[in-house]
Symmetry: D2
Subunit: 152 residues, 4 copies
């Protein structure tokens, strides 16, 4: 069952993976910096991004699963990356809302976020994200988030 093709607004991204990493290292130094990145951008495509969250035992919760806030962080950041990949490293692009559904308890492994931007408007950008454990075909969480785009 195929959805209609994306519109031509899905232009080529304006940032490479290296440029995105450099920008994130500068803006969010608490995420580890280039020698110890907690979040690795694996792909930036038109209106999309794939981001890996490296497993760390501080993400653990009882039962050996990864915490909800860690999954939220990955979902939120991957939306930010997918949007900025498309519009460039604008400052003041902030989350206005995020809705997340937790579907399965992820094992203690890296998590991979697949983010697709649904719309980039003049004021708001909206994206959806699917989270998978590395090497697994089970969806562990799904989120939809909205970012406020600053006026030019």
């Amino acid at each position: 069952m195929k959805k209609p093709h994306q519109k031509p607004e899905a232009a080529a991204p304006v940032l490479t993976i290296d440029q995105m990493h450099a920008f994130l290292d500068e803006v969010f130094p608490q995420l580890g910096g280039k020698d110890n990145r907690a979040f690795i951008v694996e792909d930036i495509s038109p209106m999309a991004a794939r981001v890996r969250m490296a497993y760390h035992n501080r993400q653990l919760r009882p039962g050996g699963t990864i915490s909800g806030p860690a999954m939220f962080t990955l979902a939120d950041l991957s939306i930010y990356i997918a949007i900025l990949g498309q519009i460039g490293p604008v400052g003041h692009c902030v989350t206005t809302s995020l809705n997340i559904n937790f579907l399965a308890k992820p094992e203690p492994r890296d998590l991979i976020a697949y983010c697709h931007v649904l719309k980039i408007g003049k004021r708001l950008a909206i994206a959806e994200v699917s989270l998978f454990s590395e090497g697994s075909e089970d969806l562990v969480a799904h989120a939809t988030g909205t970012y406020s785009i600053p006026s030019p």
Copy 2:
């Protein structure tokens, strides 16, 4: 950017389009019945369904666009159809929550919902839906919804 394959739980649907229409006509007679269906099931695939909402001018809002409640109705019903296509016509399968984002004002035309079930658990089923105007590649709304599955 491809997501991991769906798991084998995506078994063949258990209802055909005709069976689904017959079930809906019986359970929701107010949706028009077989001679005047407001919602037409166009496809039932593994963990997915496509549903068309026939345009009617009572759906109109100022500016010639389709009302939010009409889009909500289509999103909610398409999730119901996609889930029941997979688990059969169980009674008492009810919406517990629905989150909808309105992305563009649809023109006064049929709307098409593409619904994908994200998970069918023992208690809950979760799905996401994209709404398009007929013949358009613009996403007009996106929703995520959860249904409660009755105990067997």
Copy 3:
């Protein structure tokens, strides 16, 4: 357990109930007009509104309960009324997202929405709504919605 007081931005509403009804009758004639209103504004207070949805059997679903789309319509409209009560009858104030949780199956009676605006910003207004059946203390649904505010 008391929350902090609302800020002084909770100024007096700028529309009376009669003015709001007149505006709604003009903009949404399909809601019944003054002789047959489906939705009755019962109160407009600072950053709040109470709206009644008159029961009609077209809202019924199997089991004698009121449909989700009817509850969505009430939630969405009550947010619109609460916001416009505060900022006046501006055109082009549209829902950008709505998240609704269905908590109990309402009986076939009038539903009452209690809406509180959480924030009116320059671009977005956000509100939360609680729906009760008339004469009941059971919450039947709760929603949070965001409207886009047009630029002045």
Copy 4:
């Protein structure tokens, strides 16, 4: 504008603040333990809880504001505390979904969550949370979350 009274199901909480702290210290040792709690339960009332998140500079984001994931963590945890205050320290009570709206950028200070449980059902519990900066009357975020309740 007063909502209907809460139903009598709002029975007295079954855990005191000290019991809740002891339970959290045991289950979530990574939250700091009794000598260094990151989250302090300030009140447990019928169907409600107030929880403080102590400010720490690792929560900071560019512009001197507190990160979205930190606010998510507080919202999620306060719902957990409010529910467990009512049903006791059951294991395996997990978030199934959370919807959060960010309304203002909080200053680098403690954040206080006011959580009200909307419903405790047999399978699901739903609550809403308002986050304020200490000493401020500005709402900085609002969330609605659902937890899965384990079968007895």
